[in-house]
Structures are given as structure tokens and as C-alpha cells.
Symmetry: C2
Subunit: 318 residues, 2 copies
């Protein structure tokens, strides 16, 4: 993407990029449309600015896909200020195709909404057809588009806390810049490290994408061997959302911690409900981050399978 | 001060400590009392949370002192949530004495207000009687008190962006912690550097305080030699606020930049008005940060004296 230096504002991670964007575009009670399940910290950033989240529902049966024009437009009200997406998605791994991206860009343009696109996982797409997807290629939505970026996913540099907000909207740049000035700077030493990362050999990305691809295949195929588990193959990022044959993933997790062990080991995951705005959704779902080594993932999924079987026998049949 | 580990939340500088405190304690239209002149970025943090600043007025003739009980209490309304102080003060260098600190603590306690005390300059007091002042010694205001701290002033490590918010109020700790969790962590490498700073030889503080003491004496005595300048000796921090015999410090600064030079050099300062909430105040005042070497300060003040004389002759007498 072609960018001028002033289009990029360096922030303390993607988190601050999101917070400053929300503070700049939201007033109390204005609304942001977000496909659910979504990264739970979006709630904090939107609420910090006094905004309200309007969840765009999805379901495991449809592979958590959300790019349906009528469903999106049905959520737009006079208070709507923005659509916020993660593409590729966390926690679902959904990747928008070219047509879907264009459709969402059109909706934002037509209804004069900001389109906040969290693209921190864009290098992690496991099908060649996606390339490295970015909304920034649609130059007709320059005034609507805000891209959230970060070094932490791309370079496996989570603790660095260096990200940026990218927009070609001059007025929005000025608003965000005021917040940036109020907190003076992003941590200097981490910024120097982050800048140096941009000169790594491009081979690094290929190798790490290959490795995540293998991990994804392992996790998905292993999950599918567990009776009653429903899982769609994620097309990007390094998460998979799955629904488990248990009554409540949170309760199951407590049980795994307190009452289950196999050779002294157990397994933990992120319960699904906090990724949803709608109460009651995601209760038997989990998010698995395939960021560990393959042999560790193999063992973790073995533990999960054993845990589910024992939980069904001892707790659910009580 | 005696603190438990959970009383200290590490933040991205004192700036984030202030932002998260404001987001945690303020609702839209609630009020914060701040003696003016004050650090202008306080405005951004209070406004980000939807709050309103009620300025506690001071004047150069009284040396910018603000610890007058009746004046403070006259600003308290049913919407007041907090009193926010910088002690020692930026930009004024005012340091509260023991009695004044106790009085303000009493006011906060009586009216059930948070007392947010920005103590980032507490090692920089130039009179032995102050010691290293902190409100944290008043244990009867544990539920009211929030202390803002930072490594940048103490260790001359401005770009590190590592600070903390200190409170013994459990409920407030939990609220701020939620915001901390939403942005995951403070930059790791800078945190490691900051932690290492805490093992520096105590001599470091003595030497740097001595140096700032000499700089303060130089700047104040040199300012007093300029006809028409009004300045009180600051008792702490490393700033001095002065009123100049010019019509408008901002206009004067533009003139210094565009129309004045002495051997190819000119001088800049921070104009006073942005340190005030009240419109029209501080127009002929400036803040000087005595953070440069003494020989540079000497030359800067020589340039200021020459600049004032020429400005009075050529611009003000037009």
C-alpha cells in the first residue's frame, strides 16, 4: 500500500491504536458494528470512549462468516459511526475474499461510516488466493478507512508494544495525533528494536507462515477426530474456534484444572463466551491459539480428547 | 511509603497512569479540581474520560500557591470526583508544606473525593524541610489517594515510558487493572531497563538534585536582572514560571523565531496561556524548563533579555 509518512501514527501496540481511534471517532452512545465472536478487548476500547457495540451475529455452522450485506445493513442506525473488523479474524480465522472486502468497503462508503480494519494478522493467510489482504488497496474509501497494525504478530514480538494506526483521513489523523502528543512518545528502546525488525529477511515470514500452516493442519485434523467437536478450517491468523460436546466450556475448564490429570498434566484454552457480545452465545465453544510447538499441540489435543471423554462420563452423566 | 505489590500498577509512563485513572473514576460531566497553571496534557486525559476541569486560580503575585481551604472548597459541587495536584508543581515549582498537604488530604476525605497526586518530581525539592514529600504517608486517606509516578524525571529517562499508578483502594485497583489488561503489557525492553535503574547509587539523586539546584539559582537570579520580569523562586521540580514585560508571550515567541537574532541565535520557551484553563490568563507568562547545561541557560537568558528589550522597542512601541 502507498502511504505518506503522516498517514502512519506509531502507537503503543495495536491496543493503543484501537483506543485512540475509538476516543477520536466515538461520542457517548454512538455505535460500532463488530462481527461476533471478536477479540474481547475491543469492548474495553469502545466502552472507554463511551461507545456501544452492536454485534453482527455468526454461527459455527456457517464457519463464522459474516460478510452478508443485508445482515450488516440491518444493524446500521443513525448512531452508527463505524464497522470494526479483524481480517484475518481472531478468534475465528475467517479471511474475507476480494468480493467480500469490496462489499464491506461499499457499505462503509454508502453509509458514511468509518471502517476500522484490524489487519495485524494479514501475513498469516493459508490459501494463496488471499495474498496479503488489506483494505488499503480500495482508494475510494480513503476517508473512511482506519487500519490497525502491530509488530507483535508479524515478528512474534508480543512484548514490544509497538503498533500503528494508518489512515489517509487528514482530520482523523489530526484528532489521533492530539492524543499521541498528550502521551508524548512510544517507548524508545522498543521502538528502535521494532524498527530494526523491518529489515529481517523475507524468508522469515515464509518460514513462520509455513510453520503456522502445519500447526493449523495438525490442530484441525486432530480436533476433528474428537467425537462431537465441530470445527471449520481457519483460513488465516493462528486461532481456531471450535464447539465442544460439553455443557459449558468455562465449567469444563475449571474441572480440567481441579479434577482432571493425565500423567500429571492437564490442558487449558480460552472459553468462547467472552468473545461474544450476545449473552448465552459461545458457551460450549473454545478458542485455541496454535502458537505452541507441534509436539506440544499434539499432546494438548490428546489431553483435550481424554478430558472431554472423562468429563462427559463423570460430570455430564451425573 | 509502605506498599503491597498489588498497590502498584505499572503503566506506559505517568501519562497512561493519568489516563487510566481518569477513565476509571470519571463519568461524563463529572468534575476534577486542578490548580492552574497546570500541565496541559491533564486536559486531554480528563476530557478523554468525558470529565470537566474546574480550575483553582492562582496568581504570580502569590507565587502561584493554591493551598487555601476556602478557595478549594468553594469549587466543590455534587459532580466533583477528584482533586488533581502536581507536587512539586509543573509548571510553577510550588511545593506544598506538611500543613498544606494535611489540609488538602482533609478536604478530600471530608468531601469523599479522590486525591490524585502527581508526584513525579518528588525527589526535586530544593529546601531540606520538604524532604521527599508524598501524600502516601497519610494513611487515613488510603481510600481517596491515587499517586502518579514515573521513571522519566527521577532517572532522566524520558523516552522510557514506564510509570505507575499507586493506590491502596482495592476497588480502584481492580478498575484500573481491567484497563491494564486490555492493553496487555508495558513495553518489555523499556521495563527491564527501568527496573535496572532502581539499583543506581543513591549518590545519583544527590548529584542531580545539586545540579538542578544550581541551575534554578542561576535562572532565577538571571531572570530577576531583566527589568519588568516577575518571578518567584520555585521550591521544587525543574521549571520556573515567570511573567514577562511583553504584551503576549506567544506573539513574542513568534517574533523571536522570525525577526530576532543575536550572533545567529535566538531563544524559545513554553508560552504560559496553555497552562491555564481560564481564558485570558497567563498571556504574558512563560514556563522555562531548566534542564539544559548551565552555560546554555546563561546564554538563553541573555538572549531573552536582549529579545525583550528589542521587542519592547520595535514592536510594542509601534
Amino acid at each position: 500500500m502507498e502511504l505518506a509518512p503522516e498517514d502512519v501514527l506509531v502507537t503503543t501496540g495495536g491496543s493503543e491504536a484501537l483506543l485512540l481511534t475509538c476516543l477520536s471517532i466515538l461520542d457517548p452512545y454512538t455505535e460500532v458494528i463488530i462481527p461476533e465472536p471478536y477479540y474481547p478487548n475491543y469492548t474495553t476500547f469502545v466502552h472507554a470512549a463511551g461507545g456501544v457495540i452492536r454485534a453482527l451475529p455468526t454461527c459455527p455452522e456457517e464457519g463464522y462468516r459474516y460478510a452478508y450485506r443485508s445482515r450488516i445493513e440491518s444493524l446500521i442506525t443513525k448512531n452508527t459511526r463505524a464497522i470494526l473488523l479483524t481480517n484475518p479474524g481472531n478468534p475465528t480465522g475467517v479471511v474475507l475474499d476480494e468480493k467480500e472486502m469490496r462489499m464491506i468497503a461499499d457499505v462503509a462508503k454508502k453509509h458514511k461510516l468509518f471502517l476500522i480494519c484490524d489487519e495485524v494478522y494479514r501475513e498469516f493467510c493459508y490459501d494463496e488466493k488471499f495474498g496479503v489482504p488489506t483494505m488499503a488497496r480500495f482508494r475510494d474509501i480513503d476517508q473512511n478507512l482506519v487500519i490497525i497494525d502491530s509488530v507483535s504478530k508479524r515478528f512474534s514480538a508480543c512484548g514490544a508494544r509497538v503498533g500503528c494506526v494508518v489512515t489517509r483521513n487528514r482530520e482523523l489523523q489530526q484528532a489521533i495525533l492530539k492524543f499521541c502528543q498528550s502521551r508524548l512518545a512510544v517507548a524508545t528502546v522498543d521502538q528502535m528494536g521494532a524498527a530494526a525488525l523491518y529489515s529481517v529477511d523475507p524468508e522469515f515470514f515464509l518460514r513462520s507462515k509455513e510453520e503456522y500452516h502445519l500447526r493449523r493442519d495438525l490442530v484441525v485434523s486432530r480436533l476433528r477426530r474428537i467425537p462431537g467437536v465441530m470445527v471449520e478450517e481457519p483460513m488465516g491468523a493462528f486461532y481456531v474456534m471450535a464447539s465442544l460436546p460439553v455443557d459449558d466450556a468455562d465449567k469444563f475448564q475449571y474441572w480440567l484444572l481441579q479434577s482432571f490429570q493425565d500423567q500429571g498434566e492437564t490442558v487449558m484454552f480460552a472459553p468462547g463466551a467472552p468473545f461474544y457480545e450476545t449473552p448465552g452465545k459461545g458457551v460450549n465453544e473454545v478458542r485455541i491459539a496454535y502458537v505452541r510447538k507441534r509436539e506440544e499441540l499434539e499432546r494438548a489435543l490428546e489431553l483435550l480428547e481424554k478430558g472431554i471423554a472423562e468429563y462427559q462420563k463423570t460430570v455430564m452423566n451425573e
